[in-house]
């Protein structure tokens, strides 16, 4: 991010949202809402305002585990390193204005709509952690059950616990930790897909980290299969087993809690053993390794860009095996997890491929299209607008003198002509008459 911010000719708009998009490949008109930070560019990120602010909320970046003032810098590595005010928390006391030496705080700032002309668009919307329903595997019911992202923040040296592992119920260090894999993934009632082995590898990494910091903590991983597909991943998994991390192949059938100690009791059957007997084990802390899911916000982007999504909710690519980079809309390219769950290495390869796909398109002055496009006979057009309503590619528009096709956006599907009540639209090379002749010829020989 920092490198991107420093690159000349590259404009970075953080804390911004896509508002509207018009046009087609090579000529997109994009409107971006740059949300008001209530702090202007003079801010140097010194953090003096954070110290005086009396309005306290919870810190989203640390999964709500520590307090955060209403004026804050998003996180330590945020680019640009500017403070911003959460107006839902701010009480407008003005203390930050008094303490700011650079006079950077401006309560009157408004959202700005920035208009841009762009040639191609790369969609890199990333992912969210799956939120289990309340009570599922004890989530949100028992305090000592946390998700992987919370654990990540806890283990981070700049996190809310400065890298110490604690139990949320009493702040003590746990002695026995269990990771539960495939929460919300590979489950027919939730998400059917596997998150590309990412949750497996995160659990292995975090269990190794815990073991390195506190060799006496017993770390177990309850799994269906460990999916360690990738360069050096299997070796990493084997190394973690050698370090003493226990892997139990099981499906957890029940989680209960001791109400006094808040310790967790699980009932499970080790499916690698011959016996059918159920074992009861006790743990201090349980970490749910949740699936990667598409963020909620992508629905808005999907609507604006008219993209398709696959069954898993991520954006649909041109072809799952032969072209997982481009979308069916020319000029719009996918990068990373926006297309489906990926590890960091895979995301980087995918993003680089996306960048070159977009650049290849832009490096040429010309864009070739096929001639199989809808054509309108304006004399027959009754201007009903059904074609505009039904076009999946937004390529046909109704004007005063009849419908008009944008030949770059049009993909030649013919939905408009099938819907046209006055038979004013035809498809070049695939006209109605041609099909009629085909039908006649076929039925003649029979």
């Amino acid at each position: 991010m920092l490198q991107a911010a420093r690159t000349k000719g590259l404009n970075l708009y953080t804390y911004s949202e896509l508002e509207d998009i018009k046009g087609f490949v090579g000529n997109f008109d994009v409107k971006i809402k740059r949300k008001a930070r209530y702090v202007n560019q003079d801010c140097n990120g010194c953090g003096a305002c954070e110290e005086v602010c009396p309005a306290i909320g919870s810190n989203e970046f640390n999964e709500g585990m520590n307090p955060r003032p209403a004026i804050y810098i998003a996180f330590a590595q945020a680019v640009p390193s500017l403070a911003q005010i959460d107006m839902t928390k701010c009480i407008k006391c003005g203390l930050c204005q008094k303490v700011c030496e650079l006079n950077a705080i401006d309560f009157d700032q408004k959202d700005v709509i920035q208009e841009l002309k762009v040639g191609s668009i790369i969609v890199a919307t990333g992912w969210d952690e799956y939120i289990p329903p309340n009570g599922y595997l004890g989530y949100n019911t028992y305090p000592n059950i946390i998700t992987q992202l919370k654990l990540e923040r806890m283990l981070a040296p700049n996190g809310p616990t400065i890298g110490h592992l604690i139990r949320p119920s009493d702040g003590r260090r746990p002695n026995k930790v269990l990771f539960i894999q495939c929460v919300g993934s590979r489950d027919l009632t939730k998400n059917t897909y596997c998150s590309s082995g990412v949750c497996c590898m995160i659990s292995i990494k975090n269990s190794k980290l815990i073991k390195q910091h506190y060799p006496d903590i017993e770390v177990c991983v309850a799994y269906m299969d460990i999916r360690a597909a990738g360069k050096d991943y299997e070796e990493y998994y084997t190394a973690s087993r050698e370090e003493g991390i226990k892997y139990i192949r099981t499906n957890i059938s029940r989680i209960g809690e001791d109400p006094k100690t808040h310790n967790l009791k699980i009932l499970m059957q080790n499916t690698l053993r011959d016996t059918n007997e159920l074992q009861e084990l006790e743990f201090d802390l349980i970490v749910l390794s949740c699936a990667m899911v598409p963020p909620n916000e992508i629905k808005k982007i999907q609507k604006l860009l008219k993209l398709e999504t696959s069954r898993d909710g991520f954006f649909k690519e041109f072809h799952a095996r032969l072209n997982p980079i481009d979308t069916k809309i020319p000029g719009i390219v996918l990068a990373g997890v926006s297309q489906g769950p990926k590890s960091i290495a895979e995301s980087i390869s995918h993003a680089r491929a996306a960048a070159s796909s977009a650049a290849r398109l832009m490096s040429k002055d010309k864009f070739r299209i096929a001639l199989i496009r809808a054509i309108v006979d304006k004399e027959k057009c009754a201007k009903c607008g059904l074609c505009e309503l039904n076009c999946p590619y937004n390529s046909i528009k109704l004007f005063d003198d009849g419908a008009e096709v944008n030949e770059i956006l049009c993909r030649g599907c013919g939905t408009c002509l099938a819907n046209c009540p006055s038979e004013a639209i035809n498809l070049r090379y695939y006209r109605e008459k041609q099909y009629e002749k085909q039908i006649d010829a076929i039925l003649e020989e029979i």
Binding site: I372, N390, P392, G412, C413, G414, T415, L417, A418, L427, Y430, E432, Y435, E436, Q438, I439, D440, I442, L443, I446
Partner: protein
């Protein structure tokens, strides 16, 4: 598809390739039936 999975189908079925199922007009379906076809499958 039928070809790649080597599925057998009666020789009296005659496929007509169309760009997109959205392209199929009622006119084509009715024409086929009125000219003597027993049925029309729109697949895609």
């Amino acid at each position: 598809m039928a070809g790649t999975i080597r599925a057998q189908y009666p020789s009296t079925i005659r496929p007509i390739r169309i760009n997109c199922t959205g392209r199929v007009t009622p006119n084509l379906l009715i024409r086929a039936i009125s000219k003597g076809a027993d049925g029309v499958i729109v697949a895609g």
